[in-house]
Symmetry: C2
Subunit: 341 residues, 2 copies
């Protein structure tokens, strides 16, 4: 594999000159430049970015750490980030924690050791300490997620509260008073610790309080997997006082929940209203089309990327971005049947 020295020898110039050609430095005679380029061509030379990065003390790459790559919304965020990274011709180090805190910190350490220029970090649990560590190493960090704002780190907050309240309000205004909410988490207690689920739970309570409606805590359940979510939902729907509306707190669960609904022979929206967090073409194609709380993850990814690069490039600016979600009303929610459950 040819090195810069090989090229220099071949073109009968010094390595410094070759380097200048590679970096489009203006102070090179065009005749010299041509012969260097010719040598590069002939030797099929490919500059070694590892060496360059060592010297320059930057890597031309950012790290993206997601909690779980099977979640399509993370993929969409990735796609947005990749777009922006491409424009800044930066590479992307992809890290998937696969749900484990252990993996998460291992990946963060690795990103630090690789001396990436920045990290987009969607934390699983508490993150302050680890993120601080990166910061101290001079690596810019942007926190992504649906958690409550706060903390000193640059972050992108998904402003979902209003849309969430609007969603529950929508159901209440249709006449529902028994609304089930399925969240992701080990327990209601874990949900209360913060994050997206907490936010959705708070909005649920807020909308009820606002309408003077009591909340039946037994209608709020958590699950860690699609299967568990489906079985919890089935249990709820089998109750004598079954809910008249079901809210899927995470898009990932929605198809399994819909399947569970069909298995107990309930029609949507006549017998049960269904509302889902997260939008997709499938939610739109479903019969009836699903009413959803939607967040534009592609845009979110792009803005995350822009924020990170503005930080690494030392451009000061707003370091806490907001992205509003919205309620998309389709046909899966309707007034409960007069006779009620």
């Amino acid at each position: 594999m040819a090195t810069i020295d090989d090229v220099a020898r071949r073109a009968e110039v010094s390595t410094g000159t070759v380097s200048r050609v590679l970096n489009n430095h203006p102070a090179v005679r065009s005749l010299t430049r041509r012969s260097v380029l010719a040598a590069i061509e002939e030797l099929n030379y490919s500059p070694n970015l590892v060496a360059r990065n060592l010297r320059r003390a930057r890597s031309g790459a950012i790290g993206v750490l997601v909690p779980n790559a099977t979640n399509p919304s993370n993929l969409t965020i990735m796609h947005g980030i990749a777009r922006v990274a491409g424009r800044h011709n930066s590479g992307i180090f992809f890290c998937d924690s696969d749900g484990s805190l252990e993996n998460e910190s291992a990946h963060l350490r690795q990103l630090c050791e690789r001396r990436v220029d920045g990290v987009v970090f969607q934390p699983i649990g508490s993150y302050e300490k680890q993120a601080k560590l990166l910061q101290e190493s001079g690596i810019r960090v942007v926190i992504a997620g649906l958690r409550t704002p706060g903390g000193m780190l640059p972050q992108m907050v998904v402003d979902e509260f209003d849309a969430s309240v609007a969603a529950i309000r929508h159901l209440i205004s249709l006449g529902h008073s028994r609304i089930a909410l399925i969240l992701r988490g080990f327990s209601t207690i874990s949900v209360l610790k913060g994050g997206a689920m907490r936010n959705r739970f708070d909005a649920y309570n807020h909308a009820h309080a606002e309408a003077g409606l009591p909340v039946d805590q037994s209608l709020v359940v958590t699950a860690v997997s699609e299967e568990e979510a489906a079985s919890r939902a089935a249990t709820l729907l089998a109750r004598a006082d079954r809910p008249t509306a079901l809210v899927s707190g995470i898009h990932y669960f929605s198809p399994s929940l819909l399947l569970a609904v069909r298995q107990v022979n309930l029609r949507i929206p006549e017998d049960l209203s269904f509302l889902s967090y997260g939008d997709s073409r499938w939610a739109e194609a479903f019969d009836p089309p699903l009413t959803v709380v939607r967040t534009d993850y592609e845009l979110m990814g792009q803005r995350l990327g822009e924020l990170l690069f503005s930080l690494t490039d030392g451009i000061a600016g707003e370091t806490s971005l907001h992205q509003r979600s919205e309620l998309i009303v389709r046909a899966s929610c309707a007034p409960p049947l007069a006779g009620g459950a």
Copy 2:
């Protein structure tokens, strides 16, 4: 930021010794090791992988190049690869061509310059030349995709032909003779150039020939976007001699096609049988559940990863893997109505 020299000074040993501690070399007195570790701790030292990689002439990372990250199957493949990469504690350089050949070669060049240890490459168009170039630079390449086997490069071939033939045969045996097929591509000609779509088209023809059924080429259409796919489908379904079955050649198009079907008020499966390539929870949750040709992409990703690492580690073995797809019969296909269209 502390370097290995700082650590050496602090622990009052040479840099060589620190290096040996870092790499768990046995020839270090345990007393020395302890004091080095202490110094590392105190200085909050993080080894610089860029420097290490330069010296070692390997990067401890592989590149994964996908044509488009918005496709969920690519995501699933990524997840599989990430698992395996984690086990080999290798990093992943993520590259998204976003559908453009130009991006594709730019990314390949970058991966080469970064001196990744290997590349999983899902090419958009013809790839032989570019892949060869990487090979010559000593970078192992594994081709992923649903293209016809052949070529000298290690690859993972999705063996979809049998399942595809079974799918069309299934429709024919139900009594269908006018089966529409929607493929992704600019034109039927581009489809014929190869790749997954070619394979599906061939299977379609094969099953027809086998049953002695003529193929109406006007029922095979291509589209580049969901919107185009939906409008092409709408046109087909508006014809007097409309097809009695519709095959979505790519999962990505399916929801839009289903939407188009509903818009012309055709019931599935009574008025129209629907069969889709690619499976998902949504396809299962749809009413009626969709009959699909399914490929296990998670497993595919894992096997791709294993193949690549066996190559980079110099372990010889089968370099052309196969992964079989299967037909999953659900409820979206039924005999055409007696009266027929």
